[in-house]
Structure formats: C-alpha cells, structure tokens
Assembly symmetry: D2
Amino acid sequence: MRFFSDNAAPVCQPVLDAMIAANTLDTAYDGDARSRALDARFSELFGAEVRALWVPSGTSANCLALAALCPPHGAVVCHREAHIHNDEAGAPGFYTHGAKLLLADGPGAKLDVAAIEGVLAGIRDDVHQVQAHAISITNATEYGLTYTPEETAAIGALAKARGLGLHVDGARFANAVAHLGCAPADLTWKAGVDALSFGFVKNGGMSAEALIFFKPELADATLYRRKRAGLLLSKGRYLAAQIHAMLDDDLWLANGRAANAGAALLARAAGDRLVYPVEANEVFVRLTPDEAAGLRALGFDFYDWAPGEARLVISWNQSEAEIAPLADAIAAL
Amino acid sequence: MRFFSDNAAPVCQPVLDAMIAANTLDTAYDGDARSRALDARFSELFGAEVRALWVPSGTSANCLALAALCPPHGAVVCHREAHIHNDEAGAPGFYTHGAKLLLADGPGAKLDVAAIEGVLAGIRDDVHQVQAHAISITNATEYGLTYTPEETAAIGALAKARGLGLHVDGARFANAVAHLGCAPADLTWKAGVDALSFGFVKNGGMSAEALIFFKPELADATLYRRKRAGLLLSKGRYLAAQIHAMLDDDLWLANGRAANAGAALLARAAGDRLVYPVEANEVFVRLTPDEAAGLRALGFDFYDWAPGEARLVISWNQSEAEIAPLADAIAAL
Amino acid sequence: MRFFSDNAAPVCQPVLDAMIAANTLDTAYDGDARSRALDARFSELFGAEVRALWVPSGTSANCLALAALCPPHGAVVCHREAHIHNDEAGAPGFYTHGAKLLLADGPGAKLDVAAIEGVLAGIRDDVHQVQAHAISITNATEYGLTYTPEETAAIGALAKARGLGLHVDGARFANAVAHLGCAPADLTWKAGVDALSFGFVKNGGMSAEALIFFKPELADATLYRRKRAGLLLSKGRYLAAQIHAMLDDDLWLANGRAANAGAALLARAAGDRLVYPVEANEVFVRLTPDEAAGLRALGFDFYDWAPGEARLVISWNQSEAEIAPLADAIAAL
Amino acid sequence: MRFFSDNAAPVCQPVLDAMIAANTLDTAYDGDARSRALDARFSELFGAEVRALWVPSGTSANCLALAALCPPHGAVVCHREAHIHNDEAGAPGFYTHGAKLLLADGPGAKLDVAAIEGVLAGIRDDVHQVQAHAISITNATEYGLTYTPEETAAIGALAKARGLGLHVDGARFANAVAHLGCAPADLTWKAGVDALSFGFVKNGGMSAEALIFFKPELADATLYRRKRAGLLLSKGRYLAAQIHAMLDDDLWLANGRAANAGAALLARAAGDRLVYPVEANEVFVRLTPDEAAGLRALGFDFYDWAPGEARLVISWNQSEAEIAPLADAIAAL
C-alpha cells in the first residue's frame, strides 16, 4: 500500500476511454476539434473568456506561465518551498531566460500579503537589482494547504497595486476547489489571477495539463513559446481528449474530492500528530523513526519528509477500504 | 482519403495496448521498470552500449541532442530545409541558448560532404565568427531521401576530422532503415553518429520519441536538461510503454515498411512526375493546378508543397486498397 | 601606411581631453551629469525627444537594440553580410535569447524593400515558423554604401505596415550623414527608425557608442538589460565625456567627412577598379594578386576581402598627404 | 568630502598616462601587443601559467567566470549578500543562461566551509533539483572582510572534493592582498581557485578589469563568450594599457594599501562603533540618525547601509589629511 505520490497513481478509465475514442485520423498538433474546443470549454467552467492550452507536464505549464508574466531581466516572488523553486530543475530559469525567483516564507509553503510585501520591500528601485514582475503561489500548496478566495484576492490586490502578474500553480487545484467548495472563478480571475496551471495528471490524467490565461492576450506569444519548447505534440488530440474527459461531469472535482476524503480519514486518525491542517490530499504526520519503521513493517510506504515527519499522499483511486488500515495503524501508535 | 501527414495517422493497437497494460500504480517520472529498461533495449537493437531517453516530441529530441553537442556560442550545420531550421519555431535556439544554424544546400534536403565543407570553409577561425560544433542531418530527409550507411559514414568521418558532433534527426528513421535494408547500427554509431532522434510518433506511436546517445556520457547532462525543459513527464511509464511496444517484434520496422510500400505504389504510378526518388514514405509529384484540383475532386487530400508540386505522405496504417485509387488516378492524369 | 580598419586608428585629441577633464570625483555608473545630459544632447541633435544610452561597443549597442525590438521567439531580418550576422560571434542570439536572423540579399550588403519582402513572404504564418519582429539595416553598409533618406523611409514604411521594429547599425553613421548631406533625423525617426547604434569608436572615439531610441519607451527595459549584460560601467562618466566631445562642434561629422574625403581620393584613382560606388570611408578595389603584392611592396597594408578584391578603409585622421601615395600607386597600376 | 564609493574616485595618473601613450595606430580588438602581453604579465605576478583577459566591468568579469564554471542547468553557491546576487541585475542568470545562485549565510558576507556544506547538504542528488557546480566568494567581501590564504584553501579543498569550480570576485582583491600581506598566489591557485575577477576600476583604473583563469583551458571558450557579449572592445589596447599601468611597480598594491590605511584611520576612531573588523577599505559604523545627521552637517557624505549603520568607503586617492577630519568627528561623537 503506497502513499508516496499522486504521480504514481494510474490513469482513470474515462481518460483512457477518451484517448481510445480519439484514435482516428485527425489534424495534427492542436488543429483538431478537441484541442480547438478547449478555450470554450474552460471559458464555460470559469464563467469568463479564457484561453486554454494543453501541455504535457506541470513544469511546462508553470514555466510557460512565468515566461508570459516575467521578462528575462525580472523576478518572480514565490515561496521558498515552491515546486517551481525546488523541484523543477531550474525550469523557470530556462523558460524565462534567467529571471530570478525571490523567496518568501510562510508556514506550510503558503504565502500571505505580508510575506510578499516583505520581499518586495527589500528590492531597491534601481537597475542594479532585479525587479519583481510576478507572484506565483501554489493552491493547494506543497504541504496541502489551500488559499481561500479571500486570501487569493488579497494577494491579487497586492499584485495589481504593484503592477505584478499573478500565477497559480494548480497541480492540485482540484483538491483545493474540492476542499473550499467554491467556484473555480473564485480562486482565479475573480481574485486577480492571470494564469493558472490546471493540473490533471496527479488527479487521474495521464499526460495533459491545462494552462489557462485569464488575460487572453497572454496566450498569443505562449503559443509560439510552447512550440519553441518542443511541447506542441504532433498528436495533440490525445492530450485534449484527456482534458475533456476530466471536465466531463466534473470528473476532476469528483477525483479531487475522493482523494481529499481519504486524506481526511488519515487526518482524523493522526490527530495531534498532524504538522499542518489537512486541506487537500496530503497529510504530514509527526512520527518517530521507530513509529515510521513500524508502519512500514505493516506494508505502508511513504516518504520521510523531514526528521520526524512523514508525508502521506492519497490518490484519486485509493478507496476508504485501502486507506482505513493505515488510519487504524496510525491511531494505534 | 488523406495524404497530408503521418502525424495525422492514428496510433497502432499494440501501442495502445501497452499503455493500457501500464495503467497500474508505478514509480513516477522515469523510475519505473519500463523506463529503466530502455538503455538495455536500445543497446541490444544497436549492438552497442547506448543511452536512451524518452521525450514527448521530435522537436524536443532534436533540440536536446543539439544542446548536448553544441555550446551556446557555437553553431550547427544543417540543411536549409531541415525541420530544425524551418519547422521547430526556433527550438534549437531555445535549447542551445542561442547557438546558430549554418545552412547548407543540396537537392531533396540532403547534404553531402562537399556541401558541409563548403559551409565550414566560409567560417573564419577567430572569435568574431560563430564556429561550428556539430552537424545535423535528417534520415530520411524532409523530402523522403535516405542517407546510405556509406553516405552517413562519409559525413561522420568529416565530423570526426573536424571535431564536430553528428546528430541524425530520425523522425522517419524507420522508413530509412526499411528502405535501405541495413542494420540500425550502420546508419548510426558505425557511421560516426553521436545522437539520434529515433522517431515513433509518425510511425504508429502516440507521444514518445527516443533520444539515443551513442556516446553514453552525453546523456548525463541531458537528463537534467530534459527535466529543466519540463519534458520529464511524471507518468513516464506510458511513454516507455509505447516505445517498448514499437520495438517488440520490430513493429517499428514493419510499420516503416508498410508506409514505404504505399509510397512505392504511388511512385510507380507517378513515373516521370516524381520530383525526387521515393526512398521512404513521402512522394513529391509534379502536378498542374488543374491536375491537383482534379485529384481533390476525387476525394484525395494533400499539400501543395511548391508551385506545381504536391506532397503525398503515406502513413503506417494506409493499406494498398486505400492507396491504389490514388495511384490509379495519378497514372490516369 | 595601413588601410586595414578604422578600428585601428587612434583616438582624437578632443575625446582624450574630455576624458581627462572628467577625471574628478563623480557619481558612479550613469548618475553623473555628463551621462544624464545625453538624452537632451541627442534630442537636440535629432530634433525629437530621444533616449540615449552609452555602451562600450558597437556589438552591445546593436544587440541591446535588437533585444528591445524582438522577443526570444522572434526573428530579425538583416542582410546576409550584416555585421550582426557575420562578425559579432552570435551576440544577437545571446542578447535576444535565441531569436533568429533571417537573411536577405542585395549588392554591397544593402537591402531594399523587395529583398525584405521576399524574406517575409517565405514565412508561413503559424507557430511552427519563427515570425519576423524587426528589420536591421546598416548605414553606411559593410561595403560603404549608404541608404538615402528616401530608401530608409521606404523600409520604414514596410516595417510599419508589417508591425516590425526598425534598427539601424550606424557604426559608420557619421560617414553616411557626411556623404548624404542630410540631417540625422532624415535617416532615422523621420524615416521610421526605432533604434540607432550611433557609432563613435571607428570615428575618433575610444570606447563609447550611443544607443538611441526614437521610441523613448524602448529605453526603459534596456536600462536593465544594459546592467544585466555587465555593460553599465561604474565609471561611466568617461564614456559620456567621449560622446559629448564628439558632439561638440559636430566633431563626429567633421571626422566622418575627413575619412570620406580620403576614400573619395582613392576612388577617383581606382576608377573602373571599384567594386562598389564609394559613399563612405571604405573602398573596395579589384586587384590581381600581383597588383596587390605590388602595392604591399610599396608599404601599403590592407585586407584581401575576396579573391581579386581588396578593402581599403580610411580613418578620420588619415590626411590627404598620407593617402595620396596610395592613390597614385593605384592609378599607376 | 565624499565617502560613498570607490567607484566615484578619479583615475590615477599613471593609468591616464598609459592610455595616452597607447594612442597610436594599432591592431584592433585584443590583437595589440599590450593585450597579448597580459597572459605573461599575470603569469609572472601569480607565479604560474595563467590566462588573462581584459573586460570593461567587474560584473562582466564575474559572470564570464561563472559561465566558464557552471552550465545553464547548474548552480553557484554564494553569499546571500554577494554582489553577484544583489547588485548585478541578474547578470549571472544572463551569462550562465539561467543557472541558479544558492545562497549561504555568514557574518560580513563571508562564507566558511560549514556554511557552504550546509547549502550543499540541502540539495537532493536527483534531476529535480539544481546541482551545484561552483562556489563564488568575494575577497575582500562586500563588508570589507578578507579571506586568509588558509580560509580560502579550506574552501578550495571543499570545492575540489565536491568537484566544484571556485571563483573569487576580487573587485577589492588589491585591498585584500594589501591587508593580508601575502602573495597573490596564496589567495588564488595555491588555494584551489579556478578564476579570479581582478579588480582595478575601484582602485585607480578607469574601465579595465582582468579576468584570470588558473586553469588555462577555461579561457578558450571564454574568448568566444567575451565577444558574444559585446565585451571585446575594438580599441582594446586602451584597456590593456590601464592594466599594465596598474601592474607596473605594483601600483595596484600601493593603491590598495593607501585606501586600507585611510580605512584603518577611521577604524581606530570608530572603536566600538565598528560593525565588522576593518580589513580593507570599507568601514561600517554604528551611528544613530542624529549622529549621522551631525556628520553630514559637517560635510561628510556616506551611505546609510542599514538602520543605525553607515558605510564609509575610502578610495585610493584620499589622503590622511582628507580623512582625518572625519576620523576626528567620529571620535568626538
């Protein structure tokens, strides 16, 4: 029983079925009907005119967004534990041609206005220092915390006041929406967000993420950057098909809810052992080395995240029956 | 009946089956068994120790190869009609951080030693001019011509003598091997090739190409570049599965032969209308505008490539029954 | 007696004097009064509001201009023999982060509207091809030809119609203005030029070129790029001083005229041997190997430019007395 | 009486004289005898075979060094207050094509082995994280502290053990050598340093810094990078002349000693007010706002560096007579 990563989970059946259904002669690249329908599909979901591009990875979604919001000589403010800083091999530096990440702090990889303002205040307004052009937050965060619509809007207001772009890394956007019970619009354009990496791969998809621009004009140059980065797959219809399947009947939301529910089960069992409130599908639990070893001896696999701290991630397809034994084992520690 | 592009063709069933078979919990990125087996699999195919990385597109395979062979301040010699120059949106400039492409000429997008030497001779050996660091050829070329083992080896010898890397864009490598009837080794490491973009997507795959390094040490930094470019898909096992399916029972070669056979059928019908010898799955035919219109009126779709010249591309899945009517129609012109 | 290059010439006395006069405690970088006065100084010269930045080399002036006019995923149309393509070690690729140069032809490294339109017509309007964003011409050209105000305006009109920026490499702008007898404005903003590399180093300066923006807003990001490229010298006042000295009493124009006059002397002597009309300070002369050797035996040094073709460059400080012997020797061939 | 910055100081007379002496017809770029003599000149100074390139700024020296030591996908460990991180507008990101700076801490902008090891220990050895390829230290530091030969050698040993390059930003290398009384070799190649930015501009020069490679082969590609960055000035002899003048009779060292002596004068007066030991030409003094205002009312100018903390920088040309009044005023606070 593995609780390592939602990347390890299989692909859900409707996504596979949609790919199989797409397996006919069709127009290459993004000229097929499925790809061309994405703008409309996401515009409906968000209740606003948006532009939507498929890309094959979350890193590429994030970095195309940053490249659209920040010039090579600029900087992006993000959390010190943001995925774009720690786990993307410097991809933001590649896509932006060397822009900087300016690091802010906050518990659970979550930023607030004060933390961002603190970073901005440290930049002298002259050509010797790299000026901020954008902010990037992750919702849900790398530690499974969510930004509420109000919290997002506060950061959005700051971004607007300072003339900065605002990007949301939504690798677990589904989990955030599921937890908050709000509309996708509330966490994005209504809160001042310019670009969203809408993740599907951790949530039942195979190889398709959606990059959403709420300022449609930002998409224009991104179309060129996507091709220039080798991301415009020639048989793009199989990516578009995945996304449509995830949007059909709000499968993305159902999957997010399912994973969150599993995490909640563990959270209740963990009680005071929780490092952070559980607001998505990740559970960080304080465990002694002996306790961790004990759980592993029972067949449960997970990452040691920090000394005395384990990370448990629930995937869309893990049932209560599969999770309950781990919950019981934790409760019994 | 569409003869536009092999990118438009569907995915072949064994590839789909392999993806479905891979649909279980597994290690993320390229840590799964299928991904880890690629080095051995291709080493066997090529009869030499090679390193093999999956990537999701031909453009990314080509450009990671170029980045491994050419520093930012260098240049790559290629044909004026090479895909990397004309159809990749400047991706070589992105991946190499601004290296130049130096353009050589030759009929049918095919280079020979003299053409390459002519370009090299034009470069002054001083810091004011960009020095060549690599050569890139396409086999089969953008016009469906092949480089024989001897022709490749002659370019390989030139590369070695000049201290240049040698890359082969093998988007249609299967078609080239099928036509020449040689071993894959004869067109690559035995001929001095350092890196090969081994294409599967045009040949029955969905979203996986293999980047092969015949100098294994070139792969080391490429692993970082692949991740940094957002190309290390988190569910990489579905890409590895495609490649294994293509290699099983030499499906790649069977598909290449099938497409070539279809093209040969058209070639025989076209006779003197052929612009180039047909050595792969592309057929360039001289047609007047009226003749082209006539074929289209019969339901045949294809690109006008140049004034008075049409491109017909045969895909792995187009049967003789499907092609014969076009052959007949051309013969009847 | 050397006729190799105007880069080999010494610095003229007023420039040295101005540098010595600047040798006091002063504000660093470009905060000193001399640097801050450049905008006004050039605005007066051009009769329009411009922004002017010193930089230490012509290559850096050219490439900062290109970076201001062309995004990384774009292209710049220039002549196949343009300095930015042939003699700047790929600097445009470095400064633009990999944008392409698209090469056009024309005698004497000079472009016309038809040549540029020919290049533009060859670009498909899709994301697979790199789209043009700017045009760069050199006035006077690398072969000493000038663009008249009318010729420049025709290219400016094309640029405007196509939404392209227009840059002039004016390494020998002084020679062009001196030859044409027009106002600097006629060759720049009145003709649709957006940015000019105004050269002083070949014309009596030491290490200061001026980058002029006729769309002032283009300067904003360039200030950051200049620093980011290590070009914002800490003792910038010595560069500003050079430029002021060159502008005082139109020294730049006097020096340009002097060099042109020397070239005219050679041109008259060369007669039918001229490869191009002599419109600046460069003279290209047809010489057999024996003739070239004969001139060298007399003590005249120069470059063999092409088989049977020599380049003679006159510097601002070469007097008629120094040039006349060469003119006589050529006439006597 | 200004104590802002050593960049504000004038150029010393021997440097100016050398530039005037160089003002004759000569070979362009770095083909002149003065430029060609730099390798030998610095090899003599360092007692080892080195390669030496002039560049027009400290930022460009630093960043060419980093580009030689770190690939685009790598990282450089430096201090959080390093000039390359805080005051070069992101130039390291430009020159390295997006490599990261990994920030370590230590009082007075000085690193030790433990601080660097702490940063290195935080990097997972996988392709998701950017791996360190080099270390950069500043000697003397941005706060005027020096690394002794032993301290440098300890970092050099760490670099060697980890396979990392080692760069020294020596904008105030003269001040460090003057303070430590050691040989230049002791602070560089004998201590494992690969590249040194040898600063002259803050120390009496005008526009020439020397980039020294102790692994000569590192210079080869750097020659191309220098030109590609627009840093290969066409009249390079005037830069080489400055450096020769600074090396003649150890003028660089005399100037460094003079500035250090002035700083020592202030240090003695400041006593307990010193924030850091004074080991070079910078003095950081604790001052209340009233005290700072009082000093300014007496005509002394300087930067407020942090709340309650002023920075006083002494230049090579400030005499004891000029500095004594400030020393007295501080002592009298």
